[in-house]
């Protein structure tokens, strides 16, 4: 340091800051006892510079709590599990993964061998099939499964489901959602369907999408990242990145992931999971976009973020959370 004659600063500010950071991390991350506290108190009492530095670093660290709430939880923890799944998949020929969202579909006539699985609002259920395939049902969903010697079929009656299919070339696995059938061609893929639209997205490998009635005779073959959306019987194709697809599957970990999502869409997502509904009272508020990861049942955290970060007005009215300007 240059020759300075300030009364207050003996050590350079950055040195004091580093000492304060050292204390702070010790206190937050390691065993901390009475003697440690006494030592810290003594250091803080030594000079106002110490105390100011400590208070400042602690405040910044506490502020990251808010960011933590908005980050994807357990991101790194999830990776090894997924890797294990993938390894198991290669080993046993499990190669298909399908996600379907369907709502308000007309029920197909049930054949005798069918089994029905359903979830209530906010529920998440995993079903293991005898052939080694695995199905995860999202909130408020119902599907029927028929497995026999010649084929394996699933009808998604409403809601959303994620499939990990044990591939078997002699027994194709198909999922019917409304008037579209998605057939696993020994790959991983994702399908999604809402009230009046359905979308299919391929995670890995290949899949085929065609019409159940044969009307649209040319089937679509999907590559990883391909998304096919059906809207009033028109098919639109687009692409999604692996991380976008992963975000869409946040519900498997009980979270909703938003990135530049409008408040209206985010509210609609929460409403799929909870009996207490979010109402966005005016259009200008609905259009503002928000990002973050929220537990799907934590409407309060979302309301808080909307209020604190977007500056919107939030009001609780019994079963409703009303968001306005």
């Amino acid at each position: 340091m240059s020759a300075r004659d300030d009364e207050t600063a003996v050590l350079a500010a950055t040195e004091i800051d580093m000492c304060a950071a050292e204390w702070l991390q010790r206190r937050y991350f390691w065993k901390w006892n009475e003697a440690d506290q006494v030592a810290l108190d003594a250091w803080l009492a030594e000079s106002s510079a110490h105390e100011v530095a400590y208070v400042r670093l602690e405040a910044a660290w506490n502020a990251t709590h808010k960011l933590a709430a908005l980050q994807r939880p357990k991101q790194d923890r999830e990776t090894p599990k997924r890797r294990r799944l993938a390894m198991a998949g290669i080993a046993s020929g499990v190669v298909g993964a399908i996600v379907l969202i369907a709502a308000g579909l007309v029920l197909y006539l049930s054949s005798p061998a069918q089994q029905t699985y359903a979830t209530a609002l906010g529920q998440h259920k995993t079903v293991m099939l005898a052939d080694g395939s695995r199905i995860e049902l999202n909130t408020n969903s119902a599907l029927r499964v028929a497995v026999n010697a010649s084929g394996r079929s699933v009808w998604l009656d409403h809601g959303e489901a994620y499939f990990e299919i044990a591939h078997d070339a002699r027994r194709p696995f198909s999922v019917v959602a409304g008037d579209r059938r998605v057939t696993d061609l020994g790959t991983e893929f994702v399908i999604r369907r809402d009230a009046d639209r359905m979308s299919v997205a391929l995670v890995e490998g290949r899949a085929r999408v065609d019409a159940t009635d044969g009307a649209n005779s040319s089937p679509l073959f999907l590559k990883p990242g391909d998304v096919v959306e059906e809207n009033h019987r028109a098919l639109i194709t687009s692409r999604k990145t692996a991380s976008e697809l992963k975000d869409d599957l946040g519900w498997r970990q009980g979270v909703l992931v938003f990135k530049h999502t409008s408040v209206a869409e985010a509210a609609a997502e929460f409403n799929r999971y909870n009996s207490s509904k979010i109402v966005v009272a005016d259009a200008s508020a609905a259009r503002i976009s928000i990002g973050g990861t929220f537990k799907s049942d934590n409407v309060a955290a979302f309301a808080e973020a909307v209020r604190d970060l977007l500056g919107l007005h939030v009001e609780n009215r019994g079963d409703e959370t009303v968001i306005s300007r």
Binding site: A13, T14, F29, W30, E51, R56, Q75
Partner: protein, 196 residues
């Protein structure tokens, strides 16, 4: 989220706990009223000084003086007080050490107008804070960021972080301390764009 930068809420929280500890009241005030001024304060100091270490020292001197004055009586509002302290400090340094030029002190007087203007609204501050945090985390060195994310977002202890990252506990300590130091600088002070 008790640490939202919402003055009224924090004030209410503070009162409702009924704690009358002046030391914590002083800290609360400092975090709530003074730290958010840091970025403006650093900019102000940059008018007379270009050296980053020098600015950090000046900033700390201002804080110490403000903090010690507030120990006797908390100045309200904080903003003009903080900048007056900064200005006086700079002028003293000019006189004693000739570190800054006389012209820059003239500049300081011109800047006084800006000192009294109200800050941006609360939600804008909150958004800005979040943006800065995101940038701050992004700017940490990779291993340091990993330790901070494991500790802060996954809530692991120091020991668990060491196991997960396969590094010594001393290395974890160092990463965490560096992360905390960098986060505070970006969150409160220096412009994230100038970082790295």
């Amino acid at each position: 989220m008790a640490d939202t930068p919402d003055d009224n809420r924090e004030g209410a929280l503070w009162r409702s706990t009924g704690v009358a500890d002046p030391a914590s009241a002083l800290r609360e005030w400092f975090v709530r009223e003074v730290l958010p001024l840091e970025s403006a304060l650093v900019q102000y100091l940059q008018h007379s000084c270009r050296d980053a270490n020098e600015i950090a020292d000046l900033r700390q001197d201002v804080y110490v003086r403000v903090y010690e004055a507030a120990r006797k009586q908390i100045p309200r509002p904080a903003r003009p007080f903080v900048f007056t302290v900064a200005r006086n400090l700079l002028i003293n340094r000019v006189r004693r050490e000739r570190i800054v030029t006389i012209e820059s002190v003239v500049d300081l007087d011109a800047l006084d107008v800006a000192i009294d203007t109200p800050g941006p609204d609360r939600s804008a501050i909150a958004r800005e804070e979040l943006r800065r945090l995101q940038i701050a985390i992004d700017h940490l060195p990779p291993r340091c960021r990993e330790a901070v994310v494991l500790g802060r977002i996954e809530g692991l202890s120091g020991q668990e972080i060491a196991q997960r990252m396969g590094i010594s506990e001393a290395a974890v300590s160092k990463h965490l301390a560096t992360g905390m130091f960098a986060l505070a600088n970006i969150l409160y002070g220096e412009r994230a764009e100038k970082k790295s």
